[in-house]
């Protein structure tokens, strides 16, 4: 394929966007189809998708893609007409074909179109077309799988990897079934096709496109309205400023006008902010929908029966979060499938139903989204985890005996930790949980593990809805302003310092029925005392996971919505500091990380 010239670039972009979207949906639909094979609407939708892909790619001249799509379409057509019945074997092949399509689309997207081996996959499709296929096709298909004709040098002189040759050498779809001129010589002899392998691992992920976004026209219109209002307010502001400079307005008038303007401005900006935030929100379905496919292929590989239930896939959260949770979730699902769930025989022996259940759920809770992965498998064997950790020299025997269940679960997140004797394709290298932890930490999220031996495990992820803007409580510590995320603030109290008690060198405060450990921010942050100290101070009670503590500050400044700014690489890991923000007066204020703060003080 010659390099695409500028004119076609727009067409191509459109094609890629559309195809990617169709393919994303296709996977999910196919899995659903396997379960409910009599759903004709679904069947038709799948058929249409692949048909659209075929049509568009033939228009743009991606012959290889057309070829694969065409054959897939043929098989689907027979399924649709009821000439074939959906079964796992057909599904495997169709999925393999869609993977190949993805791979080819991926190539086009990367601008690096190469000759891929497609015959293997197409050959697998062909048998399903046999029964009523035309005589020539039967002959071709029958002849083909066992002994594919070697490439004839005369017919296809320079095929391998010469981009221009693609269109010439690839047989036109209409005459496709006879693969007499084998385009790729080395791939021909083997029937088991190599391309689907890379496709399974990478193709799917590479395709998910994060550079473009589809926005509801209504939301866009609303946004335009808000911007219009903002422009009006700006004009008003210019007017007021001019009036003041030309002394047309007296001070009192100006004050009043400016006050009004400020209110309107703040109203419009907060509306605008909401709108933009809403636009950034996408349903978590975007991530969830690739899981049925993964679970299906894994359960077939592992010989386990798994029923994946997805709950709350319509829950919306920020794009930035959605982009980050994909990988951790895949690792958690893999773990649940591989380590958690038992094989049917083991399950029956344990008095459970043959098939295991895996529940993937998403739900909003306040300013957070909670995603949980729950299986009814064998649960986490703390004893075994401990043994393994001792074996690997991560902890000592004594340490293990002193550990609580929770601490043992924490061992799972150590890099390099795995209970598997041997690393397999699926798991065992000890990377997965480390990835989970790193990604969730990056998102300011929390992981919680619940597990009961023999009954199953649940991994609960708590994530912030958005990373960009948070509500915060501004506090003053001896003249320095700090910001505490409001989501972790439980209450604030004004107390007399004489009420503080000392327990083993730790200052505490009796707060109703609990004893609250206190952290003096002034001490932790080495703030210099200025002026004489007042006996009264404020205590901000914060909660991090299940811990409670009180941060002692000089004064509360107020509540404000702040945009989080990173401190950059050099200052990224200051203990107790999560980031920074810019205040109304242009100064920088540091954002306190309550979770890290509790660790600092331990």
């Amino acid at each position: 394929m010659p390099p695409i010239d500028c004119e076609d670039q727009e067409l191509l972009d459109g094609f890629l966007a559309e195809t990617t979207e169709l393919l994303e949906k296709l996977d999910d639909d196919l899995i659903t189809l396997e379960k409910s094979s009599d759903d004709t609407d679904l069947m038709n939708r799948i058929f249409r998708s692949i048909h659209t892909i075929k049509g568009a790619s033939s228009f743009l001249g991606f012959d290889l893609l057309v070829k694969v799509a065409h054959k897939t379409e043929d098989v689907l057509n027979r399924l649709r007409k009821g000439e074939l019945v959906v079964n796992p074997e057909i599904m495997d092949v169709i999925l393999e074909a869609t993977d190949l399509v993805k791979l080819l689309v991926g190539d086009i997207k990367a601008g690096d179109i190469q000759e891929r081996e497609t015959e293997g996959t197409i050959n697998k499709l062909l048998p399903f077309l046999l029964d009523t296929a035309g005589a020539s096709q039967v002959a071709a298909a029958a002849l083909q799988p066992p002994a594919p004709t070697p490439p004839t040098a005369i017919e296809t002189p320079t095929v391998t990897n010469t981009p221009e040759a693609t269109s010439d050498s690839a047989p036109a779809p209409s005459t496709a079934p006879v693969p007499a001129p084998k385009p790729v010589s080395e791939a021909a002899p083997k029937k088991v096709a190599p391309p689907p392998k890379p496709a399974e691992g990478k193709g799917g992920d590479d395709l998910s496109d994060n550079t473009t976004v589809r926005v509801d026209v209504k939301r866009l219109d609303d946004l335009m309205n808000q911007v219009g209002e903002l422009v009006l307010e700006r004009n008003r502001m210019i007017q007021i400023n001019q009036d003041l400079q030309q002394n047309d307005a007296n001070r009192a008038d100006f004050n009043e006008e400016f006050g009004k303007l400020t209110k309107r401005m703040s109203f419009v900006t907060s509306e605008l902010q909401m709108q933009v935030l809403k636009m950034r929100m996408i349903p978590v379905e975007k991530v969830f929908k690739k899981f049925p496919r993964i679970v299906r292929s894994m359960s077939r590989d592992l010989g386990k029966e798994v029923d994946l239930q997805i709950v709350g896939e319509e829950t919306e959260l920020d794009r930035s979060v959605v982009d980050e949770i994909g990988d951790p979730l895949i690792h958690l699902i893999r773990n649940a499938m591989d380590h958690g769930l038992e094989t049917p025989d083991e399950r029956l022996a344990a008095g459970k139903s043959r098939g295991g259940t895996l529940v993937l759920a998403a739900v909003h809770e306040g300013n957070q989204i909670i995603i949980s992965i729950k299986d009814d498998g064998r649960g986490i064997d703390t004893e075994r985890v401990g043994r393994k950790a001792i074996e690997k020299g991560l902890i000592t025997e004594d340490q293990f005996t002193a550990m609580s269940q929770r601490e043992v679960f924490d061992l799972l997140f150590l890099p390099g930790f795995s209970t598997k004797e041997k690393a397999t394709d699926l798991s065992g290298r000890g990377v997965g949980m480390d990835v989970v932890k790193t990604n969730i930490k990056k998102l300011n999220g929390l992981i919680e593990i619940k597990s009961a031996k023999g009954l199953g495990s649940e991994f609960i992820l708590r994530l912030p809805l958005t990373l960009a803007i948070i509500q915060s409580l501004l506090v003053e510590v001896e003249g320095e302003i700090y910001s505490i995320p409001l989501s972790s603030v439980l209450e604030t109290i004004r107390v007399d310092q004489r009420q503080f008690h000392q327990i083993g060198g730790q200052e505490v405060l009796k707060l109703r029925d609990i004893v609250l450990p206190l952290i003096r921010l002034q001490k932790v942050f080495n703030v210099q005392q200025r002026g004489e100290s007042d006996n009264f101070c404020y205590v901000v009670v914060v909660g991090a996971a299940e811990k409670r503590m009180g941060l002692v500050v000089t004064r509360l400044v107020g509540q404000q919505e702040v945009a989080i700014k990173s401190l950059g690489n050099y200052l990224a890991n200051i203990p107790g500091i999560a980031g920074s923000t810019i205040l109304g007066d242009g100064r920088v204020a540091l954002i306190i990380d309550p979770v890290a703060m509790s660790e600092v003080c331990e």
């Binding site: 700014k565 950059g568 810019i582 100064r587 920088v588």
Partner: protein, 164 residues
Amino acid sequence: MQNSLVVVKADDSHDELIQLVSFNLDQEEYGVDVLKVREIIRMPIITRVPNTPHYVEGVINLRGKVVPIICMRKKFGLIESENDKQTRIMVMDMDGELMGFIVDAVSEVIRISGSEIQPSPAVVAGGIDQECIAGVINQAERLLVLLNLEKMFSRDEKNLFTGM
């Protein structure tokens, strides 16, 4: 002085011309590659960042970006001085990240040819880490220490920043 530079350049046509921003720090004059300098600003309000090395003065708001500020005098172990009208922050590009350095004064942009750079003598300007000194430029009336700020922080220090 410009003329003398041109002459030097004519002598050795293979030499490339380097542009340096020169600045002062405790009587001495230093130079850094002009391409690394993003901007030069006056002292804004600096927010202190706790639990950082002593030479990290804090962070500033540079038009919506939060930029860390390093005090050059403290970093080089020189006597601290009050900020005055001449004090400037040089915002530099350090491996793609912005970082500001407080210097006594920024004087000018000078051109030199590569051949004028001499290796630094064993001991220079007491206390400055040898690592980041790329060389010295010895011209008739001035001595200029050429700094390579990307080598300013040793590996240990970088770890200190990120691993504390």
